[in-house]
């Protein structure tokens, strides 16, 4: 079964990092233990958040590179989600909503609210900056918490397979951020 504590740590690391990056304040205290179905829900939620934001970006941006980046996020995170869901099914885990998922979702809602009034280059810069922060947080959590501590061989393999995609997304977003400039 899932290594509950490792994934729980990822959830908190991810939530705390994103919270600090988006608000500049410390993250709230960690929630109590999660069940395996709840942990699975956190993983699916984290993926869906990036898919939803990318779909929003596609309706807003007029920059071809940003549009392509968003398309790649949708394609890749959908593929990863399919693998994660298949593994959850194989392991007999049915995702269940929980406090950490809700925290991630409310962070995404805030990000969407921050992006909503922006247009043109200002939107592109803010969206890509958010994507840099998001993928950096996920990569840190994978490297520092999940892969070193996960014991389930199939889950560890999935994480190792996903890691290069997250790293490549991060490099892609960083390169785009540089090209978009600061706007000052």
């Amino acid at each position: 079964m899932f290594n509950r504590f490792a994934i729980l740590a990822l959830s908190f690391t991810l939530a705390a990092t994103l919270h600090a990056q988006t608000t500049g304040t410390p993250a709230p205290a960690p929630a109590p233990d999660l069940s395996d179905p709840e942990v699975a829900h956190v993983a699916v939620t984290a993926d869906n958040i990036d898919i939803d934001l990318a779909k929003f970006a596609q309706t807003r941006t007029h920059n071809a590179e940003v549009k392509q980046f968003a398309a790649t996020m949708i394609t890749d995170h959908t593929a990863v989600n399919a693998q994660a869901s298949a593994l959850a099914t194989k392991l007999g885990v049915t995702p269940a909503d929980n406090a950490v998922s809700q925290s991630l979702q409310s962070g995404a809602t805030r990000a969407r609210k921050d992006l909503d009034p922006l247009r043109g280059a200002a939107f592109d810069r803010a969206y890509i900056a958010r994507e840099v922060a998001y993928h950096q947080a996920v990569l840190d959590a994978i490297d520092k918490v999940l892969i070193p501590t996960t014991e389930n061989a199939e889950l560890k393999k999935l994480l190792e397979d996903v890691r290069p995609a997250v790293a490549t997304h991060l490099e892609h977003a960083k390169a785009l951020k540089t090209r978009l400039g600061t706007g000052t």
């Binding site: 790649t72 593929a79 397979d161 290069p164 995609a165 390169a175």
Partner: protein, 97 residues
């Protein structure tokens, strides 16, 4: 008969395989001859393409386990990339038969 002679003069054709794994092409640089076939196989979870930078060829999206192929048609260096992940790059060095 003429076809056989042409085939013999042309020499053997080879098929080369490039694995896509860990969001990289392996090998990233491959030397082939005109007439050889290059096959890309995607081992990653996420889809990829193998697309000539000058758009001479495009594998289309390759899902995990899919493969795409290209027959080297003329000599020279042929850089390519994955259009979904522009940080992924590869190079074919195409020599004479």
């Amino acid at each position: 008969m003429i076809g056989l002679v042409i085939l013999l003069l042309a020499g053997p054709r080879h098929t080369h395989t490039v694995e896509i794994r860990g969001l990289a092409f392996h090998p990233a640089v491959l030397t082939v001859a005109v007439g050889d076939t290059v096959v890309w196989i995607n081992r990653d979870i996420v889809p990829h393409t193998a697309t000539g930078t000058r758009r001479k060829w495009d594998s289309g999206q390759l899902q995990q386990g899919d493969s795409g192929r290209y027959v080297a048609s003329r000599t020279g260096r042929a850089p390519y990339t994955c259009t979904l992940h522009p940080t992924m790059t590869g190079m074919l060095i195409i020599g004479r038969e």
